[in-house]
């Protein structure tokens, strides 16, 4: 009897194992994403997430990572730091071996409390606040967005020939706007340039005329814009044009998003802005062609941040040899990855234990020609 049962069971067991075998091979590598789908970061988080999804699809189309498909687990923190850590915890519990943060800078900061405790690698491919890697000694966190200090240093490097003495600085009251203004001010003062007047345009205001009047009264050599809110930046540009002012404007990377070309039509000619995206770079051309082919939509720089984030993480997982959080952490620290973002020849790297990976010489300065984002006129800080 036992022999008959064994004879019957053997093929069944074999079939089960055959079925179970491929199922094991199909286990995915889970990458968590904390994004903002409804809050103030949505204009940036949404295209970045599109870039992330495109990158994951590209990886899976080519066989995945370490022979396993990449699975994205996406959580929405609504741009709210108070719930962002809970979203990170949810991703850790769901088995994410890496978390990409594309919400607001303060939200990314809060997620670090979880990733540090849970020893889960986390990276923001686009946040630019300089303080993200300095407030917590979190060895599981990296940042590849171009820092505010790099932005102002690149702008100043370009403006060196203009021999600036006294300038005006204007920003908005968003967290990132304030943070960028802080690092812009520090960079200007470090270069011996006096910030003659500093103004803030609050979110939701209906005009920037009083701020521009104060700036006009200070008669600066140039105006530096550190704000990141598009409607408020448009108000600043309108007040500047209405007042007939002629001093040059140098802007943070916020003016690099293409929405300005339609929403600030007629206001942009001659403005220089710092960007992490060089349209002439071969990697950018390839990325644009692939993205258009796959989605039918034209990508821009924010898509590139998300795309680079996933590709950089995939590179680290490959070098780690296994989706093991500790091995990935070690592999991340030895990253040298050339992506879409950055000047020609730039590669992300975290040398000597650093956790900010954007090359200080990796930004470019571009100039608006009419309403069009024009050519690169300067690269790096030299």
């Amino acid at each position: 009897m036992n022999a008959r049962i064994r004879r019957l069971c053997a093929p069944l067991l074999g079939t089960f194992l055959l079925l179970a075998g491929p199922a094991t091979a199909q286990d995915t590598i889970k990458i968590g994403v904390v994004t903002d789908k409804v809050g103030p970061a949505k204009p940036y988080s949404e295209p970045a997430l599109e870039g992330i999804v495109f990158a994951a699809n590209e990886l899976n189309r080519k066989g995945g990572v370490l022979g396993r498909k990449v699975e994205l687990l996406v959580e929405d923190d609504q741009g709210r730091p108070d719930i962002s850590a809970a979203m990170a915890r949810k991703l850790v519990d769901a088995g994410a071996v890496f978390i990409l943060s594309i919400s607001l800078t303060p939200a990314t900061q809060q997620q670090q409390n979880v990733t540090m405790e849970a020893k889960t690698p986390q990276m923001t491919p686009m946040n630019s606040g300089d303080t993200l890697t300095t407030q917590l000694p979190n060895p599981y966190f990296w940042q590849t967005g171009p820092l505010g200090s790099i932005q102002i240093a690149t702008l100043l490097s370009h403006a060196r020939a203009k021999n600036l003495k006294r300038v005006a600085l204007i920003s908005d009251n968003s967290d990132l706007g304030q943070l960028l203004a802080r690092f812009f001010r520090a960079g200007l003062e470090k270069s011996g340039i006096q910030v003659a007047v500093e103004e803030v345009v609050p979110r939701g205001t209906t005009t920037a005329e009083p701020q521009m009047q104060k700036i006009r009264a200070a008669n600066p050599d140039a105006l530096f814009m550190a704000g990141v809110l598009t409607p408020e930046n448009v108000l600043i540009l309108k007040a500047y044009r209405q007042a007939g002012l002629k001093f040059p404007i140098h802007s943070s990377y916020n003016l690099s998003v293409p929405q300005y070309m339609t929403v600030a039509k007629g206001l942009l000619d001659g403005i220089t802005f710092v960007d992490a995206y060089d349209p002439e770079k071969p990697e950018v051309k390839q990325f644009v062609a692939d993205y258009v082919r796959a989605t039918g939509k034209q990508p821009y720089n924010i898509h590139g941040y998300g795309y680079d984030g996933v590709m950089l993480v995939a590179d680290a997982i490959r070098r780690a040899g296994a989706p093991d959080r500790e091995k990935i952490r070690a592999a991340m620290q030895t990253t040298k990855y050339a992506g879409v973002m950055g000047a020609k020849g730039m590669a992300y790297a975290f040398p000597e234990g650093k956790r900010t990976g954007f090359d200080p010489n990796g930004m470019v300065v571009r100039v608006y020609e009419g309403d069009r984002q024009g050519r690169v006129v300067h690269t790096g800080q030299q």
Binding site: V38, P40, K42, P43, E46, N173, Q178, E198, E199, V200, P202, R203, G204, T205, T206, T207, E209, P210, Q211, Q213, K214, A217, T230, P231, V234, L235, K238, R241, Q242, Q259, T262, V263, K265, G266
Partner: protein, 294 residues
């Protein structure tokens, strides 16, 4: 002096926008007692209406503006039918429609965000991006257009309440709801009309301001706060109080930024301080409601 007068024009235009939003609140609060914080989102809907009709479809400005106002009347009326009337008819406490309207705020914002995406959209100026000089007063064409359009609306609202039977009906409902019903005034119709008119006032505010700030899905809440502050300052009792409150708020904001020796960014606190002071010291606002005449 040139700066002072230019800023006066700018502050008057901003004050008119705040006044229109405050008027939207007032039109609903007076007869119903309901504070509708979704007025900011109505303004946003008006702004996107402008984007669709004036930027996309390129309708002539007066036609597009009239269509937006007509649509906003419908939006206000529909909001009342969906979020207010069912609760009132079931005898729900006053807080219930206020909370339901807060829910509508999210519905409006997310619907717009899904339909138009998160990026801001340009709404054209009716007279272009130019500068007008009227004697010592100078400012963008749009500022003068905002001031003119707002004065027309407030004059019409004042005439409606002071000179028409329907306006008297509104006032009667505001003074004593039950007594008004007893003398045959249709409370449901007054409520529906008040929401429709509120929708139009808020939508006009959104359309006018969107030429400056562009139409975007997060523009509603700041406008709702500014309008509410203007309402608290001016008082809910009289139409002209809404405009007075808006002007005072805008002048305080902009002249503090320009002339007060405060570090950058601190001037943002001025509206909140004004709001707290008025709530504490003069909760009825500057202009109190007229007493009922015997």
């Amino acid at each position: 002096m040139q700066d002072f007068l230019e800023l006066a024009v700018s502050a008057t235009a901003s004050g008119c926008i705040y006044g229109l939003i405050a008027l939207a609140y007032l039109l609903m609060i007076r007869p119903t007692g309901i504070i509708n914080f979704a007025v900011g989102e109505w303004a946003m809907v008006g702004a996107f209406g402008g984007f669709l009709l004036l930027s996309k479809a390129e309708w002539p400005y007066p036609v597009g503006m009239a269509a937006v106002l007509g649509f906003m009347l419908l939006v206000g009326w529909a909001t009342e039918r969906v979020a207010v009337r069912p609760l009132v008819e079931r005898g729900a406490p006053l807080l219930a429609p206020i909370l339901a309207l807060l829910g509508m705020l999210v519905v409006f914002r997310e619907s717009i965000s899904l339909a138009f995406g998160p990026d801001p959209h340009q709404v054209p100026y009716p007279f272009g991006f130019g500068r007008l000089e009227l004697g010592p007063l100078a400012g963008p064409y749009q500022s003068f257009f905002i001031i003119g359009a707002t004065l027309v609306v407030f004059a019409a609202a004042w005439l409606f309440f002071e000179r028409t039977l329907w306006g008297k009906c509104f006032e009667a409902v505001a003074i004593h709801r039950r007594a008004a019903a007893l003398v045959g005034i249709d409370l449901g119709r007054v409520t529906a009309l008040s929401f429709a008119a509120g929708g139009a006032a808020a939508g006009l505010g959104g359309l006018l301001v969107s030429a400056n700030v562009s139409a975007h899905y997060l523009m509603g809440v700041p406008l709702a706060i500014q309008g509410f502050t203007a309402l608290v300052i001016g008082g809910v009792g009289r139409v002209e109080g809404a405009l007075l409150g808006g002007l005072l708020l805008a002048f305080a904001e902009q002249f503090t930024v320009r002339y007060a020796p405060l570090p950058a960014g601190y001037a943002q606190g001025v509206p909140l301080i004004m709001l707290m002071l008025f709530l504490l010291l003069r909760p009825t606002g500057l202009l109190a409601a007229r007493e009922a005449r015997a």
